[in-house]
Amino acid sequence: MIAAIEPSWYLILAALLFSIGASGLLIRRNPLIMFMCIELMLNAANLTFVALATKLGDINGQTAVFFVMVVAAAEVVVGLGIIVSILRRKPGATADDLAELKG
């Protein structure tokens, strides 16, 4: 019999996923990869919500996840649009190439 999965495991997993996403965002320069890292971080947060909602028996945590998903979807639409247009203008552009937008 496999031991019951403790909620804290989910939290550890979420922390791991978040760290991977965060370091990926810092290290990688490909905009698409960076974008995926952001999604990873968002979903790590979602996982935390769900885990804690189960543990505390509070439905509010699960509700928040829906909001995060909706926001993430909207963000994907806008973000992908920007990335596609950047890549069209400059094929193979990296995030660092966008430093020219600085003030």
């Binding site: 965060a22 810092l26 600085k102």
Partner: protein, 672 residues
Amino acid sequence: MIDLVWLVPLFPLVGFLTILVGGRKLGEPKAGYLATAMVLLSFATAVAIYFDLLSRDSESRSEVVNIFSWVPVGDLQIDMAFLVDPLSSTMLLFVTGIGALIHLYSVGYMHGDPKFSKFFLYLNLFVLSMTLLVLGSNLLVTFLGWEGVGTCSYFLISFWQTKDANATAGKKAFVTNRVGDFGVMLAMFLAFGAVGSVDYAVINDSALAGTMTQATATGIAALLFVGAVGKSAQLPLYIWLPDAMAGPTPVSALIHAATMVTAGVFLMVRINPVLGAAADWVPMLIAWTGAITALFAATIALTQNDIKKVLAYSTVSQLGYMFLAVGTGAYVAAIFHMVTHAFFKALLFLGSGSVIHGMNDEQDMRKMGKLFKFMPITASTFIIGWLAIAGVPPFAGFWSKDEILLFALAESPALYIVGIVTAILTAFYMTRQVVMTFFGEQKWGSHANAEEAAHLEVDDAEAGAAPEPVTHGAHGEFKPHESPPTMLLPLVVLAGLSMVGGIIQLPSLGFIPKSMQHKLLDWLHPLVEFGEGPEERGIGEAVIKDTWAYDNKVLLIGIAVACAVIGIVGAYLVYEKKRMKPIEPELFANGWNYDRAISWFMGNPGRKGFQGVADFDSKVVDGAVNGVATLVRETSSQVRKGQTGYLRQYAGVIGIGVVLLLGWFVVIRGIL
């Protein structure tokens, strides 16, 4: 009828706007007649208001007519409101009455001037401003008119602006008046700060009830007096008025003799309860300023050769008398002298304008003489004006000057002596002027055409028209001529008024019927009560009942007449009979070098001072403002370096920030 008081300023406003829009199309002489008609309508309204007031009993003759709320800002509620009472009614009558006469005169005088309609534009604007000044029920409306008349004065002094001296004279008048206006503004601030209103009613009531502290009353009175000194050309700010003679002569008559310059006296009388509540030095200061100015200007007038400059200094001197009256509490006498002075000084100025007109713009009396033959009407009316100002009974000036001197003696013998010496000098210099202009030897003819005269003019500040008058085309053969009827009619009317003007305030002497005495006093009562404290307040001669002066009134009248005669005979002997060589000290001719001293002071230490202030502004004040801007720019250019544009860096900074925040919450605040 009183509710229609807004018609008084409305008519000149309509005239102003009409000429503004269609002046050039109206042209000469229609624009002039239109302007005259408008002022005449104002006068008719003023007369109707006068009779309306007259039909009421004396306690209910004061009424405020609210036109609209002008400045409604929190506690500061100022209405565009007109105060109709005997004082403003008196002022309105003579402002619009004399104004109408001078408008009519100007139609003749300005004949042929290329800026004919513009002249009447300014004149109507002036009458509008002056009526606002007089009617205002609070200091701000009065101030609006105050500034309006100042502006018109500026426009009209430099009316022939192509000549440098005229433009300079206009600027001088404007700048000097600003000094006084400053005082009026401060007085308004003080009044609002102390009693919460700039309404005359509120200020005066508070002064009468004793709720206004003596310090406040002193401040308001002194500051308004500063304004009055500027507007009414008293020492030390009188310097602009003699130069103001650069304007066309009707302007000198209307603005710089009859109406505008009396605004300061009017203002002082308007706030007379505040003067009563102020510290004693304020009325004394006013009386002495007036007395010294009167004497000072009279000495200068003794030696002037420009026909208008004599009258200008004479005006300064007579205004000094009015302030002497105000300072000694003789408010009725001040208003009385203001009215009679308006009659005879307007007459004298218009007469001099007629002479200048007839002499082809010659203003130097040394080139006149024997003009009586050529200008009989001008000369006769001028002589009536001369008798009136010299204080010969029964002409108007005699009565008003006598009443002022009576009050001066009741206050202090020193003031009386200054006043009586001035009276002798007045009679002297006016006789000198009359003799030099209308009698004596004929001194014109050799070089009396306008062009040559303009070249010979030494002091070109007062020379007349820059554009050559169209009517006086013929040079060569020259003969002085009498002026057209439009100019003579006002002269005759004013001469009549100068003769009988004294009737409005005859003194209480045995042979004068009781019902004829002190008409003006009864009329202005109770606006001009005088005295300290509610119990001691009285009006007119009741205040000085117990003095030596009052008991010896007849003797004083005798002295006054004797002084007038001494002055006249003296000047007659010197200038007509040539019994004595004229004593005309250089010092007097140069106006005691006062003007020069001011020029020197302003040119040297003054200029350095102003330069210092300008430097302070450009270095310290601007430096502080620019320094702040530089500081921000430098700081931000350093901060901007942090913005590299590298997303990774931003994300890293955000990450580190989040970790630090979390650390702070967990470790320091102990949450979790």
